[in-house]
Symmetry: C2
């Protein structure tokens, strides 16, 4: 085997691709530019990857796998924290969140591009898979939390899990676009408290009926929402991932 190939070539290309992807997005990244950035020629690129598509698939799959491992472990620990005061519990949860968002901040460039899903959203399925996994884990945390008296009993688990995933999603989308590093801990603590305790004043909470999220046996009489659109046009690309909005566990009031 004369002329051994550069053993770092693949790695260098992946790193260069990540940088280009962050700067220019998927369609904006040119094979020639990636190769140049990695210190080699376009021709060499094709010695290490079958094409642009394969390179990016590898890049994104690897990253999402790392992120999934991190959040899986974190949510697992979320459940493990127990037998302590409310304040202590919140503090530990916030610590978990800080670790996750630290990672997000470190990789904000890539994550921003992935969340955009730009250029035909070719990696949407990976992001969706991840979110679905996260949502499912969250649902489990919620169920455990209800058993332990942490969360209210009348939660619609699907909706609440989506609500949580949504809060993370939103936070990630914001953080990822910051230009200077936000102070994560106080931010995450505030969000944690907003999610747990809501916006309402005690007064409003007490004067509202005791049906905070979901059911109530369904009013016998009137039909609300009189089927305003029997069914809708279009609805082309399906992507029918199990969303909390479909098949909600509670009926339609």
């Amino acid at each position: 085997m004369p002329r051994p190939s550069d053993p770092l070539a693949r790695t260098k290309l992946l790193a260069a691709a990540e940088a280009e992807f962050v700067e220019h997005g998927l369609d904006g990244s040119k094979v020639e530019q990636i190769a140049k950035r990695a210190g080699m020629s376009k021709g060499a690129f094709y010695l290490h990857f079958a094409g642009k598509a394969q390179l990016f698939r590898e890049l994104v799959e690897g990253f999402v796998a790392r992120l999934a491992a991190l959040t899986d472990a974190s949510l697992h620990r979320y459940e493990a924290h127990d037998a302590c005061s409310a304040e202590e519990l919140i503090d530990r949860w916030v610590s978990e969140d800080v670790a996750v968002f630290e990672f997000i901040w470190q990789n904000r460039g890539l994550i921003r591009r992935l969340l955009e899903g730009g250029s035909g959203a070719r990696f949407r399925y990976l992001v969706d898979e991840f979110l679905e996994r996260f949502s499912s884990k969250s649902r489990h945390v919620l169920q455990q939390g209800v058993l332990r008296g942490i969360f209210r009993e009348d939660l619609d688990f699907d909706l609440a899990a989506s609500f949580i995933a949504g809060a993370y999603d939103r936070l990630a989308r914001d953080i990822v676009r910051q230009s200077t590093r936000p102070d994560l801990r106080p931010l995450l603590e505030d969000v944690q408290r907003l999610v747990l305790f809501g916006l309402a004043s005690a007064q409003l909470r007490e004067s509202a009926s005791p049906r905070p999220s979901g059911a109530e046996p369904a009013p016998p009489s009137g039909v609300r929402a009189p089927r305003p659109l029997p069914d809708d046009p279009v609805s082309v690309l399906a992507s029918q991932l199990r969303s909390p909005l479909q098949g909600r566990s509670r009926g339609l009031r």
Copy 2:
């Protein structure tokens, strides 16, 4: 002026462009295909628009303006509902939300593409401008609500406004991807209650310290939210849109 031009040409092209955009995204939409769909030739396209970019700018700007008008009016009415029971208030708010999300559902294809921001996010600035406006309006609603005792007094307005905008954003992102029409009213009511009252059980809420969101009851001296919005400037091109994560009104933790 012999041979008068088709007076509907521009409209037909815009409609065709919207359809193509929804199906294929920005880069995926071809001028030739748009023209064909509008029932004319590529050449005719260039008689009505200076180019692809102008067409899409017009399309998106028009749509965002319509959406902004709708949400502006809705948030305005949000504030106007007063002097009624908590249940009634929530019911009215939900009705407002239903109207907005009805519109979102009707235009889900376009909105999905806009939220993706795909293809270099060329319209990001418009979406950002809209969100900034929305967030700012929400902040106002929150401030009014606190004065009226609806929301807790210790809210960090910037964070809470972002929290609200985030909840809508998340919901929109979900709804826009549904394949069948979700039953909006019960869904939005549940979300409303989640946002207002949070996830926590009464037990957890009571055992937690009385600092739910942000800081202590505000030292009497301090100015809260240093000029949250006496009146907000136009905030033209949104690059540096005022994010709740930067310059938070309360200090750290």
